[in-house]
């Protein structure tokens, strides 16, 4: 095996019992993105030299109690919290988003889809904040196509929290139609304000229900998700100076 090139950005993918998108994330970073990536078991800590952490989708702990609630108590989350405090980039996708909310790293909660059904299809997203470290490579209000696959994706926050989130530009992605219009038919789960992805106040933690890692290669039907990971890499490289 060749030594890891020191100039490559280091990603870690956290693995809980019941994670099932960890391999997709590992593959997206290793393959199309071409960066270094390692899996980190939930009982271990994310190594200090890691630049970016991905909390993947799946059904951690079988969704027992509430989606993400028990994973939030896993030992690995202490190192994820520390990395977030240090300003490192943390991306939570689907169940990973639920874990970040339950951990208090992001505001709000995800409830059962209003239609009660598990929704598994491609959706269009509007990039509402194209200046976040995760969206630098997208254009203003760019519309992208990525898949969703979830039963609990209905974003909720109390009105005051929602207003604060909107005011600070914390809503990064919204569900829309192919032209970027926010009609209710485009919202797959009933999320308030058609919210699909949000960042924390500092902007270095992103949680989103859609799966960008499943849209990184032409053979998967869309490459629109790759720019998100490329944006993360650019940000890390820029900060290295």
């Amino acid at each position: 095996m060749s030594a890891v090139a020191t100039d490559r950005v280091k990603f870690a993918v956290v693995v809980f019992p019941g994670s099932n998108c960890d391999r997709d994330c590992l593959n997206a970073v290793k393959g199309p993105l071409g960066q270094h990536v390692q899996a980190v078991w939930h009982r271990d800590a994310v190594p200090d030299d890691v630049d970016c952490i991905i909390v993947p989708g799946g059904f951690s702990y079988g969704d027992a109690l509430r989606a993400g609630a028990l994973a939030a108590l896993s030992p690995v989350m202490e190192s994820v919290r520390r990395a977030a405090d240090d300003g490192k980039l943390v991306l939570g996708v689907c169940n990973g988003f639920q874990v970040l909310l339950e951990s208090g790293l992001l505001p709000g909660a995800l409830m059962k889809n209003t239609g009660l059904r598990f929704v598994c299809r491609d959706v269009f997203l509007r990039v509402d904040n194209w200046m976040s470290p995760f969206t630098l490579d997208y254009g203003p209000n760019q519309v992208i196509r990525v898949p969703v696959a979830h039963g609990y994706g209905n974003y909720y926050a109390p009105q005051a929290d929602l207003d604060a989130l909107e005011e600070r530009g914390g809503v990064v992605f919204r569900y829309c139609d192919e032209h970027g219009n926010l009609d209710s038919g485009a919202n797959p789960n009933g999320s308030l304000n058609a919210i699909a992805g949000i960042t924390n106040e500092r902007g270095n933690v992103l949680g989103m229900m859609p799966h960008p890692e499943r849209a990184c290669e032409g053979i998967l039907g869309s490459r629109d998700g790759l720019k998100l990971f490329e944006s993360m890499v650019k940000r890390v490289v820029a900060l290295r100076g």
Partner: protein, 81 residues
């Protein structure tokens, strides 16, 4: 000592499961059912020096883990074995 905990959605949070159940049971002929709210029920065995201490521990657990305070409220009741 034993405690029973009930966790349910706050009144102002739409309970889509409860709504679906109500529509289904009304359709099945239970026309008198005007509302359904779904919750979770937990029975906990707790080792503590006093009832108050046990209840306080359960309350902390409810606040931190068993409920999501944004969406849910909880009720704690001590039960005799």
């Amino acid at each position: 000592m034993k405690f029973h905990v009930l966790v349910h959605l706050k009144p102002d949070v739409l309970d889509v499961q409860g709504q679906a159940i109500r529509e289904a049971v009304v359709g099945a002929g239970h026309g008198g059912i005007s509302a359904v709210r779904v919750g979770k029920s937990f029975y906990l065995d707790v080792a503590a020096d006093s009832d108050a201490e046990g209840r306080a521990e359960v309350a902390r657990l409810c606040q931190e883990t068993l409920s999501n305070p944004l969406l849910e409220t909880f009720e704690i009741e001590q039960v005799t074995a």
